[in-house]
Symmetry: C3
Subunit: 437 residues, 3 copies
């Protein structure tokens, strides 16, 4: 599949998922996961009953909404959930009432400085109802009174999440975690799920050394629930993890560190981004806001970072109706896919090469010197000599790539060639004994 094809495919999936009204729980999540199962047949959907304890939390009530609107007394719908999912505050309690403008006002949410944007508002843990509308709509509302109708339910149901596991040669695993709780918004968050699905299909297309686990969760409560059930296993097996969020626009690349800041996930992400775009944005764990909050919490301490395009909270369309399908592009999604593919390439292929001969080897007799000398071939020989000169069995290819300021893939290809020539021999861990050749 060409780059253009996979970009277009991801964009098409985003378009298909767009209209569904997702929330923490409910049928919108189930419909979303069902569509993903078409593409990932082994995707499992788990249902966790409302009230189930999860560390300091409980699975909340399930939310169902059939209709919601503000109308005038002639029945003309002025703000209509059927028109846009964002018009209704998430987890709104039911209401059917006639009220004055004054009574309605505390339940309206708009953005005076972004007059065309409908804001995204939820009230998961405080019983509340409300409508979101653009400032222009709000200004145009008549004097009232209004008919306010929310045909919703909060009931003992379940929280749904998806889990897809791809076993590799080793039980050591890579975690990919993204969100299925955002209603019609694109960068945050249809981009994460659609890139994740494409990445999973790519992973499944060939055997790999490591195992992979993809989680499609409602944010916060989803990862807390998952961790409450599987933490010891994750702590034992996890090599590195990536929160996949805000992956659809083309403005920049971003990395948000783990709490410790120096895990393998951090080092891999930093290396990949430095070579992908030297101007990428680097955020500290102090600027966290996604599920790394749970994965990196004290006592959980998993090596998880976020890899993004424009980070949540940093772009003007964030958490409004302006974060729509025109904000994300096939190329934007494709860049994110490749970023993760490169990170996985490092995790799959990193190793500790060591030279098998003392002193520089004679490259000439092995045909490793180019017969025609060009600037390019000279540069490649220099990199090959550098790899040999630093391959002391105590530095990984990733460390050498950093030291030699080379993309991992370039160095790894040279390493393969030198291993084939018998000039390097690689191990899974640093040598502890001084080399005796």
């Amino acid at each position: 599949m060409t780059q253009a094809q996979s970009g277009a495919q991801m964009y098409a999936l985003a378009k298909r998922l767009w209209p569904i009204c997702r929330s923490l729980t409910g049928d919108g999540v189930r419909q979303t996961l069902a569509i993903m199962q078409e593409l990932l047949p082994t995707l499992m959907v788990h249902e966790v009953p409302s009230g189930t304890p999860a560390f300091d939390w409980q699975v909340p009530a399930e939310w169902r909404v059939r209709d919601a609107y503000i109308a005038d007394l002639d029945g003309n719908r002025l703000v209509d959930f059927q028109q846009h999912n964002l018009h209704l505050v998430g987890y709104s309690t039911p209401i059917d009432a006639i009220m004055s403008r004054e009574e309605l006002e505390p339940h309206l949410y708009s953005l005076p400085h972004q007059p065309t944007a409908i804001p995204y508002v939820t009230s998961y843990y405080r019983q509340h109802w409300g409508f979101c509308l653009s400032q222009q709509q709000r200004d145009a509302l008549p004097a009232g009174p209004f008919r306010v109708q929310i045909d919703s339910e909060l009931f003992a149901g379940a929280l749904s999440y998806g889990e897809w596991y791809l076993p590799g040669e080793s039980q050591e695993e890579v975690l990919l975690s993204t969100y299925v709780c955002h209603p019609s918004m694109a960068n945050n968050e249809l981009s994460g799920p659609v890139v994740a699905v494409e990445l999973a299909r790519w992973l499944a297309s060939a055997p790999r050394r490591l195992s992979y686990r993809l989680l499609l969760l409602p944010e916060t409560i989803g990862s807390i629930v998952y961790l409450s059930r599987h933490l010891p296993q994750l702590q034992q097996r996890l090599k590195a993890g990536f929160v996949m969020t805000c992956m659809g626009d083309e403005r920049t690349y971003s990395y948000l560190a783990s709490r410790r800041g120096n895990t393998l996930a951090d080092r891999v992400a930093l290396h990949v981004l430095q070579h992908r775009d030297p101007h990428f944005q680097r955020y500290s764990f102090l600027q966290r806001g996604s599920d790394e909050r749970q994965y990196c919490s004290p006592g959980v301490d998993l090596p998880v970072v976020s890899m993004m395009r424009s980070k949540y909270g940093t772009y003007p369309e964030y958490h409004t109706s302006l974060d729509n399908l025109s904000l994300i592009t096939p190329a934007g999604l494709q860049g994110s896919l490749e970023m993760l593919q490169q990170a996985i390439g490092v995790l799959e292929l990193d190793r500790y090469p060591q030279a098998t001969v003392c002193c520089e080897p004679q490259l000439g007799k092995r045909g490793l010197y180019p017969t025609i000398s060009t600037r390019e071939s000279g540069y490649q020989v220099r990199t090959m000599m550098n790899l040999l000169a630093y391959a002391d069995g105590q530095h990984s290819l990733l460390e050498l790539a950093e030291l030699l300021n080379q993309p991992f893939a370039t160095l790894e290809a040279l390493c393969c060639r030198l291993e084939a020539e018998g000039l390097l021999r690689s191990g899974d861990a640093p040598r502890t004994e001084p080399l005796r050749l």
Copy 2:
């Protein structure tokens, strides 16, 4: 007591101590300590006989001076110790002679570039006599001859020093060390003793965890004598120590590092000063000049730093008659008092908090989220979440305060609240085992 009151009280004590002629030894020191005993009844005064060995040194002879002047032959006093203590070189030997201007000259000390200042000169370890005077006075001296009279004595007496000990719950102790050997000078050095006395009274006003030891010493020989008698105990018990010197003016705050530079005393001092005044002066141990020279010497190696206002040697009035009571202020002294109180606050309250639940706790159900959201309350919640997110039992509150760029007291207050809620549990030392919750 309000800030203004304690500042005024310290200033008043400085004024009362001002006229006394202090030196390494002698009745001036004893009078000074006696006045301090009025305020600190448990202050003990120790007398160490002249000739007592102390490491590489010996306690010097005691110095007594009754009168000293240079007069013309008509008996008019031209330079008169009764007018200012600084007119006489400290430890001057006795003389009663008539001499020419030429004979007198090598015994006169003035500062051509500070023509109104009387310099401060001593000759503790070389037998010598001399007079200090302003350049203006010197220029106005008649042609001579002169009557030179110093009615002094160097005799086998004692060195006096004060020691005040406040026991706490723990034998671990904090050392506070300052000087009682400077004659009429204010910043260097009535400020250190008067702040020390006020600090001691504050310490004694409530029970505390740590023990406190205040030393009122003649500089250099005093700390050497003290260390020669008590070093093993100090090495066993000392948690942190502070040399209190030059604490009276308002121009700046200063810190001078210990030799190792990274002791607890260093880290506490740096933290307190960063938040008190980001423009504070930072000096290396290479710029030392006070009793940290002894406390940090090889083989002694105590965790001691200096906390100051304008450091000795850096301000124009230093070691002259211009370092007088107009240089120091109640507010200057008060700032130094608070700086030490804050440092002691850190030493008393630092601990290693660890989260008691995996993942973020639900603050809402505990009422820890503000009901009315303001910029201030949002900021506080963010800091609280950060504290929870980093509380892994391996970083102390002081380290977390540095990491989160918060004053220690702010974080400590949040820590208390979260401990009360059961969300944090704190220990005295970093966890060595991974947390299993």
Copy 3:
């Protein structure tokens, strides 16, 4: 011997060695080593037969050349090896032929951008012949045909190298390594050998603590052959090593790091150069190009750095006939000699001083305070006090010299004086136990 004398002597030796046609092997190397034996009678010359294996390499055939030229058909020599050694490509195979300009062209080497320079070209490991000439000469060549004559031989002979060993009190040794394979070029490389010989004579002139080993090698293959025979002994005994190359001009000083970058050799070289010339050039191991490539290769891992004037590859005359005796000077060579002498001074004299008394000692009673106080003497006393204040037995004199920003020799002289006074006691290694005095 004065500085001017030793500079002149080194320059004279360079002049004497200049005309000899050196290469990887052959009589030019043997003549060069024979002249050096006149100055270093204990210099041993080793002969290693062609074909002898050395790690990944084999000793190449020996090369002998009697004559070589390009002539017109009248016998006029147009390019003549007798005129300049560089005219013949090193290791050229024999030929005796008449050929057209077109046939000749692929065997000619010149530098269009340096039209007066004859380049230096070799073909050690690919059978080839060629002539080097200035671009001006090349442009002036007639149309042809040409008589091309190279009276050379490649035969089973030997590789020759020199080794000089000076035993000291300890078997711990210092390696000095330089090249004898460069034909008539001056900075790279007659400067290294002539400075090395002078340094060896200086070393032999007085007893020293360490042992010294000087290697006079053909580059690359020479060090590979040597290491293949002596690696375990070097790994056991080597304290520090220096590649001596490009030591003759006056433009700058340069240092090229070992692979690890923090060996004793690195720290010594950096210290010496910082005080010799704060503007010295600092190169990473990534910019390597001399025998540190072998000494620092994985599995060899010796603490070896290069100390140079203008580094190979960085100056315009490099590897051309312009790198001649006018590029190097007696003063340039002398500076390099002193640089190595200073480095050896540190290696010989470094130690771990510790104070023998607690607290500052009383310098006055020992006459260590100057009786007449000047700015200079005050500075010296300050440095002496600093040495005493930091001499905790855990930092070497070299580390203290860095910390106090003093030349090693200054600090070492003060250390001797304080040892003589009994105020310092020095050990060969850092103290592992806390000092108890």
